[in-house]
């Protein structure tokens, strides 16, 4: 069982590229920020390393940060072997929101990533089926962005009250 700080230190020690910094939080949970183009390698390492063994991805959430003009993805990992948890974050600019897919590492990321694409428009490179999951295929826009404007009609039905 490791604390997030120890995990961050361990990661920085083992992996040179991609681990940016450890952010302790004022309240709640601390996290480690990563580079979006190396997340897959780090994920693999996290899963397979004998001292970490993060075998489940509990949650993958997309976030829109309107102030910074950025989109972010938060990964919550958990190890059933050791019982420790960690939160990882990546940030990408909103005009080129490309993050590496971790679908091949944790299968559960499949639907989560599709949802993040659907809701926030984050593109996951290497995902086998990057299609909308909750909204219909012909939906316009990504609803969870803070600047989302609801479309007026969908297939001839008004969407407003």
């Amino acid at each position: 069982m490791k604390q997030p700080e120890e995990i961050a230190a361990y990661l920085k020690d083992k992996i040179v590229k991609g681990v940016l910094e450890f952010v302790p939080a004022e309240i709640g949970q601390p996290w480690i920020t990563l580079a979006p183009d190396s997340i897959k390698n780090i994920a693999k390492f996290l899963r397979d390393d004998s001292e970490l063994r993060f075998n489940t991805l509990m949650c993958l959430s997309g976030v829109h940060y309107p102030a910074e003009q950025e989109l972010g993805v938060t990964y919550h990992l958990h190890s059933t072997t050791f019982g420790h948890t960690v939160a990882l974050k990546v940030r990408v600019p909103i005009d080129n929101p490309r993050v590496q897919s971790v679908e091949s590492v944790w299968k559960t990321a499949d639907w989560h990533e599709r949802e993040a694409w659907d809701m926030l428009g984050i593109i996951f490179d290497g995902h086998p089926n990057m299609t909308r999951i909750l909204c219909p295929d012909d939906w316009e826009g990504h609803p969870l962005r803070k600047d989302y404007v609801q479309q007026e009609t969908y297939q001839g039905i008004t969407t407003r009250f």
């Binding site: 219909p136 609803p143 609801q150 479309q151 297939q155 039905i157 008004t158 969407t159 009250f161």
Partner: protein, 177 residues
């Protein structure tokens, strides 16, 4: 209303008693289309279960829309689902009725303001006969909705209505489709 809808031009004692018999049959045997959408579907199941027992009213579920008389829209209709609801309604055979159960299908309910993906009232796609309020309605409220629908059925007629009525009815139909 079915095959005999407005087939008679004037009323006499036979037709009137036939009419009441037919209306009695229709109102006593409302088979509902068995599908649930959301929270209200759980209460619908509870209504069909032993404690409230739909079957007392002769109401039983049919899973094929062809054999159903009444569609209970039990829950939130989303944009993705709206066209399916419409098609299901079209598949039902006349005479058919729709009960809108719960706030969501009445008007979008809690989701009317920010729910970009929620249809704001099922009456935007299909004509609704009875609105049952509640979120979700108690099983008794749904049963009361059925009693209200029965009242409506009792007043239906196989006698052709007067021309003036007809025009408004036509207009209504155009509005709904």
């Amino acid at each position: 209303m079915g095959l005999l809808d407005k087939k008679y031009h004037d009323s006499n004692i036979i037709i009137v008693s036939l009419e009441s018999a037919l209306n009695w049959a229709r109102k006593s045997s409302l088979w509902y289309e068995q599908f649930g959408l959301a929270c209200c579907a759980i209460e619908m199941m509870a209504t069909a279960a032993s404690h409230y027992d739909f079957d007392r009213f002769g109401i039983i579920p049919r899973s094929s829309p062809r054999q159903a008389d009444v569609m209970i829209v039990a829950g939130t209709v989303t944009m993705k689902m709206a066209s399916r609801i419409e098609r299901l309604y079209e598949q039902m055979s006349e005479p058919r009725y729709v009960i809108s159960m719960g706030s969501c299908s009445n008007s979008g309910g809690p989701y009317w303001e920010h729910g970009y993906h929620v249809l704001k009232g099922v009456d935007k796609v299909i004509p609704v006969d009875v609105y049952v309020p509640g979120c979700p309605p108690r099983p008794e409220a749904l049963l009361e909705g059925f009693l209200t629908l029965q009242k409506k059925i009792e007043n239906e007629s196989i006698i052709e209505s007067k021309p003036s009525d007809k025009i408004t009815e036509e207009a209504d139909r155009h509005e709904t489709t």
